[in-house]
């Protein structure tokens, strides 16, 4: 205990220098907490926007669907999907299941036409599944109607607004082209720009009639929350095997999410390494100065019987205390800054590449990550002190005492 007391007094012997050194650690820890909080929130947002923007937590397909030839349209449909839904709902983690059929087609206003990527689904499920999309005009379609939702980009291309009647054309199961008049019930703005320019969501029955099919090509399973979604994965794998289906998790489908995550992780790592570098130089400099200023003291302590190891540990303890105190203040300040930013409504982030709109980012640092960074900071302080501490420990006693 006295060693800690001595170390604390020693580090504040030259208060200004120690505070400046701690300042670099404090600023580093604040930066780490905030960047981590920003990335954490952004990644959560991206993940949920992809999951709740249409891909769900899991997707079930007829076996062979994913490897099918492009020209075999609607050859792999799940016909008995209504019966299967009941079984899937048995899993405690499942929130809802959205049966969907997807198709490509052309939407025409008479004057202008555009290619769409359409999907037919049930109103209630589609509303929940696309909860990260924003209805900018109108409302969601009714199930037994000829109403559709179109992306904001699609509406812009066709100069369409709610209430307009458009013609939807798509290839049928048996070949040939079918066309149907649809009414724009709502205009939706999806998070991803590309979806916005191509998306059309129609009632399931309308899509089935248009395509001349009875089934769906996927069942989208949405769990209560993403963190616990994996709990139902095992059940769904067994279920899919039993029913001749294939299962894909959101992790297989959200490739973009993992690409962005990798990019953010790399950026975070670079920032972390830079901060670590600053801390190493700062601590090494402070500890070297400490050693030089205390040479005669080191000599005396060695004369009194301190072993080299004790000197080494004393300096490393002092350095680690700078890291512990500085890092702790940094974590507290980092969380304070994050809370203040969140209370003020977050930080506005302009639309990232490929995204339709900007957003207000909250700063939600991940406690485990911040804790690990804090421990890494302390470890870095200890490592940075090894060289000067070894120098102190290896000093010849007689030489050191003569410096007094």
């Amino acid at each position: 205990m006295l060693n800690i007391k001595i170390a604390l007094r020693n580090i504040f012997r030259n208060g200004t220098r120690t505070i400046l050194t701690m300042f670099s650690i404090i600023v580093g820890m604040i930066a780490i907490s905030i960047v981590n909080g920003f990335i954490n929130y952004s990644m959560w947002g991206l993940r949920e926007s992809m999951i709740r923007g249409g891909i769900g937590h899991f997707q079930l397909y007829k076996k062979g669907y994913l490897e099918r030839e492009e020209d075999i349209a609607f050859g792999y449909l799940i016909d008995n999907y209504k019966g299967l839904l009941k079984e899937i709902y048995r899993s405690a983690e499942v929130s809802f299941v959205a049966p969907e059929i997807s198709f490509n087609g052309v939407l025409s206003s008479g004057e202008k036409s555009t290619i769409i990527i359409g999907k037919g689904g049930l109103k209630e499920e589609e509303e929940k599944l696309n909860s990260f999309g924003e209805i900018v005009e109108g409302s969601f379609f009714e199930d037994d109607s000829f109403e559709v939702m179109i992306g904001e980009g699609v509406a812009k291309k066709l100069k369409a607004k709610t209430g307009d009647t458009l013609t939807l054309m798509a290839p049928m199961k048996g070949g040939g082209l079918n066309a149907i008049d649809v009414v724009v019930k709502g205009i939706i703005r999806m998070q991803i720009e590309e979806y916005n320019n191509t998306i059309l969501i129609s009632p399931l029955k309308l899509a089935q009639n248009l395509l001349g099919v009875d089934g769906v090509d996927r069942l989208i399973v949405m769990c209560k929350d993403t963190e616990n979604a994996t709990k139902s994965e095992k059940d769904l794998i067994e279920f899919s095997k039993k029913n001749d289906l294939e299962l894909k998790s959101w992790k297989d489908l959200a490739v973009f999410y993992f690409q962005v995550k990798d990019m953010y992780n790399t950026m975070f790592l670079v920032l972390f390494v830079i901060i670590m570098g600053v801390i190493i130089f700062s601590i090494a400099n402070t500890m070297t100065m400490n050693v030089y200023e205390r040479i005669s003291e080191i000599g005396m302590v060695r004369a009194m019987g301190a072993r080299r190891r004790q000197i080494l540990l004393q300096f490393m303890l002092e350095s680690s205390l700078i890291g512990i105190i500085g890092g702790f203040i940094g974590v507290i300040l980092g969380y304070t800054v994050a809370s203040l930013a969140n209370l003020s409504g977050g930080i506005y982030i302009p639309p990232p590449p490929g995204n339709a709109k900007g957003y207000y980012s909250m700063i939600k640092p991940d406690f485990v990550n911040v804790l690990l960074c804090y421990l890494a900071f302390i470890l870095t302080c200890i490592i940075a002190s090894i060289f000067p501490a070894r120098k102190a420990a290896k000093m010849e006693i007689v030489e050191a005492i003569r410096r007094s």
Partner: protein
């Protein structure tokens, strides 16, 4: 049996490509309770001899026995332990730890040696050196004489067999120097501790039972009181 014995001790210092002879063929014996004084002009080798006797350095040649143990055979850790248990040091410039108060400075050698920290004993020593009212004072709040008294209490706290004092009164005025010397003589009388001084001070020499005169690294004369 002599508490300290040196046999044909020599010490060379390397200065670039040449080497400097600091001590030559020094053979000495010190008995328990001795008050010995090493005298000589600057550069005679007084401090070098004191450092060797205190196991702070090793001789280039020869042997040193303390309490029967050959210090030449000890490694660095063993020497550290040995110093902590058997030897106390008092230096000209006091060398107190500035961040510790009087009590903690005296206590520190016990912490280093992981020894029992007897509060009563520490306070007794502080009282013996006349600093009972300054326990909480830091070194920079004390006068030179008071600092040297803290250094004396610190040197004695581990109850060493030998106390080595390098010019202990050199930085003090004559009155304070005399007071410090009297204190050391009193402690020698009470505890039978061996005191070896390296000094120019005639006052210290007068009180010594044995005076060793060094010149150019050699023992020129030993005078017994």
């Amino acid at each position: 049996m002599a508490i300290i014995k040196t046999k044909n001790v020599e010490k060379f210092y390397k200065l670039g490509k040449t080497s400097l002879l600091a001590l030559k063929n020094v053979s000495l014996e010190f008995e328990r309770g001795d008050i010995a004084c090493i005298m000589g002009p600057s550069g005679a080798g007084k401090s070098t001899l004191l450092h060797l006797l205190g196991c702070l350095d090793k001789p280039t040649k020869g042997e040193i026995f303390i309490n029967g143990a050959n210090v030449m055979e000890m490694n660095d850790d063993e020497l550290s332990l040995f110093r902590n248990s058997y030897i106390g040091f008092i230096f000209q410039s006091f060398n107190l730890i500035p961040v510790l108060n009087v009590y903690e400075n005296v206590e520190y050698p016990l912490i280093i040696g992981k020894k029992k920290r007897d509060k009563e004993k520490i306070l007794e020593l502080i009282e013996a050196v006349g600093l009972a009212n300054h326990i909480k004072h830091k070194p920079d709040e004390l006068s030179g004489g008071q600092r040297q008294r803290v250094a004396i209490a610190r040197a004695l706290v581990t109850e060493p067999e030998v106390v080595l004092a390098d010019e202990p009164t050199a930085n003090l005025d004559s009155k304070t120097g005399e007071m410090i010397l009297n204190l050391l003589l009193k402690l020698n009388e009470e505890k039978n501790t061996t005191f070896i001084f390296s000094t120019h001070s005639e006052a210290i020499a007068k009180q010594s039972k044995k005076i060793i005169h060094l010149l150019d690294g050699e023992v020129k004369e030993i005078v017994y009181a």
